[in-house]
């Protein structure tokens, strides 16, 4: 079986999406033959400008404005055989993978975490040589394995997969399919960019201070370390109630509920109200002088010590 990457050339983060596709292939598609990539995009120039690739050849489906109906038209026209199609992790990838499978009588799974082929020796004869995919279900409480019954197999990737560096150089463009004016239902459209805010909601790294920070002067040390770590500063409720930071920096149920990649807490005890606010963090570090503080069991890594020298040292390292 051959696999193909399907790339969203309209996306600002197209390179990151491609890196994750590469990462996925490297981890789970070993030994499978790679076919040409399919890139839906504004123009050939956009693709050439990438200067990175993860497939030698590519077929372009182009239109000035993205419309799933136009891309699907190009996709389904082009694809004659079966195979495995790996879409990116954005909404477009999810929508297109599902609708492409529907049009071609294939099967699709969205937000796949991994993939494997069942072995010849698998006990259940029905499952032999089938594609299996794992994804999160029940609002991330469970993980479910699915077997895909029909080709073409179309999957979109889950967010936050491991990535793999792309190869330098451009795609060899085999063909460009122009799909202008195929979204007749759209009479007009306008894009409104979002004002960039340094809010807690979207922060990748958060440094959260609690009552253990003791006073406003010590908050300055936290601020400094946060600049070094490129982190947003947040506080727990006791710290906010002490006015060490304005209320819009408050994390927890009466403030922001966040899910950064890394959340470092300093002098936070870990009250339920606070923890609920950081529970979705991918990685939690707790620094507290009290080894029995509840936060110490809720963190991935804990340091039993005063936060001040730790913060100062972290700041030195980051310099």
């Amino acid at each position: 079986m051959r696999y193909h990457f399907v790339v969203n050339g309209y996306a600002d983060d197209v390179l990151r999406q491609m890196e994750e596709q590469m990462g996925f292939a490297q981890k789970y598609l070993n030994g499978m033959e790679q076919g040409e990539a399919i890139i839906y995009c504004r123009s050939v120039e956009d693709v050439q400008r990438l200067e990175r690739h993860h497939s030698k050849e590519a077929v372009l489906i182009s239109a000035r404005e993205y419309a799933p109906e136009a891309v699907l038209h190009g996709l389904c026209d082009r694809i004659a055989d079966g195979g495995l199609y790996i879409f990116g992790n954005d909404d477009a990838g999810t929508e297109l993978s599902v609708r492409m499978a529907a049009r071609l009588s294939g099967s699709s799974v969205t937000e796949a975490e991994n993939l494997w082929l069942s072995e010849e020796s698998a006990g259940d004869s029905e499952l032999i040589n089938k594609i299996h995919v794992m994804k999160m279900v029940y609002a991330n409480h469970m993980e479910a394995a699915f077997v895909m019954e029909r080709e073409p197999y179309c999957i979109s990737l889950a967010r936050g997969a491991s990535s793999q560096e792309l190869r330098v150089g451009s795609f060899v463009i085999k063909e460009e399919i122009s799909c202008e004016n195929m979204a007749e239902h759209i009479v007009s459209q306008e894009f409104y960019p979002e004002a960039l805010t340094g809010g807690l909601d979207k922060a990748k790294v958060i440094l959260a201070a609690g009552r253990g920070v003791k006073n406003k002067e010590n908050m300055a040390v936290i601020d400094k370390a946060a600049r070094g770590l490129k982190a947003e500063v947040a506080v727990s409720r006791p710290a906010a109630m002490n006015a060490w930071k304005p209320m819009n920096r408050l994390i927890g149920v009466s403030g922001a509920m966040v899910g950064p990649e890394v959340c470092i807490t300093a002098g936070v005890s870990g009250a339920a109200a606070f923890y609920a606010g950081i529970e979705k963090s991918k990685f939690i570090v707790a620094i507290n002088t009290d080894e029995k503080a509840p936060i110490m069991k809720m963190a991935d890594v804990a340091i039993v010590d005063d936060f001040l020298p730790i913060m100062e040292e972290l700041n030195n390292i980051c310099k």
Binding site: Y138, E149, V187
Partner: protein, 271 residues
């Protein structure tokens, strides 16, 4: 303009006791005891329909709001709430077993498509982008394909224009797009700013909520012969506990260095 809101009633997963997540060799979870709630994206969709209707006041457009759900008898209370809020039609495709509609987006979308084709024609269909239990993220897209309609995803706002057009706001990476859209169309509702459904008063419930719900059987909606192209084979619990590693060293400085080198450096560089 006839607008259909398709919703799923789901168990409140926050109320599931820990041991029920730790099952093995089952293809669904026992959620039968947990309080039933609107699937959050669908709730946003239904509120969006009501707001659209509110906005049409004084304009020359009439919106006829209908709602359809697929599920067990208990979900009819939700349809009656919608009646009390001003929906003019409520229908349920009767499926009593929870697990039959969990990982069955093909069947669900087939049911909705046939409702629209055979029972009540519609101009617009709204449905949440995914359900909190199945997390399939497929139904609106499959529905669009089955009807041959276009689809707009991550819709967060609707405003009236005229009998054949709507102003549709959808979220995309880096901002949002506002489009003038010609019906028919399927809208997959994402993180709408108004995701909570308003609540009818007891008086409105007494007055409007008593109308019977239209009941349909899956066989008539072409659902029984619809096969899924993807089949669930296993369900595994996820260990949410964090196995805390305590960093031991002689000085705080060393601990900080260890924290950085071992745990932070790589994670921070990936960002």
């Amino acid at each position: 303009m006839k607008i259909l809101g398709c919703f799923k009633v789901v168990p409140d997963l926050d109320l599931i006791v820990e041991e029920d997540w730790n099952i093995e060799n089952h293809l669904h979870i026992d959620t039968g005891y947990a309080k039933l709630i609107w699937n959050c994206f669908d709730e946003g969709a239904l509120e969006m329909m009501l707001r659209l209707s509110d906005l049409s006041e004084g304009l020359n457009v009439v919106y006829k709001l209908s709602a359809l759900t697929i599920g067990r008898q208990k979900t009819e209370n939700f349809l009656k709430t919608l009646y009390a809020l001003g929906f003019s039609e409520g229908a349920r495709i009767c499926v009593e077993a929870e697990d039959e509609i969990l990982f069955s987006p093909e069947m669900i979308s087939e049911g909705i498509a046939n409702y629209v084709k055979k029972i009540e024609g519609q101009d617009v269909i709204l449905t949440g982008i995914q359900s909190s239990d199945g997390n399939n993220k497929m139904t609106p897209y499959l529905l669009a394909e089955k009807l041959g309609w276009p689809c707009i995803t991550q819709v967060i706002g609707l405003e009236p224009i005229d009998e054949e057009h709507l102003k549709v706001t959808s979220q995309v990476s880096g901002g949002c797009i506002v489009r003038k859209v010609k019906t028919p169309c399927v809208f997959a509702i994402g993180n709408a700013p108004c995701s909570y459904l308003r609540i009818p008063t007891l008086k409105a419930k007494m007055k409007l909520g008593k109308r019977p719900v239209t009941r349909l059987v899956p066989e008539d909606m072409g659902m029984s012969e619809t096969a899924e192209n993807v089949r669930v084979t296993a369900l595994n619990p996820i260990d949410k506990k964090r196995n805390t590693v305590v960093i031991e060293a002689d000085s705080p400085q060393e601990k900080a260095r260890c924290l950085y080198e071992k745990y932070l450096k790589e994670r921070l560089s990936e960002l």
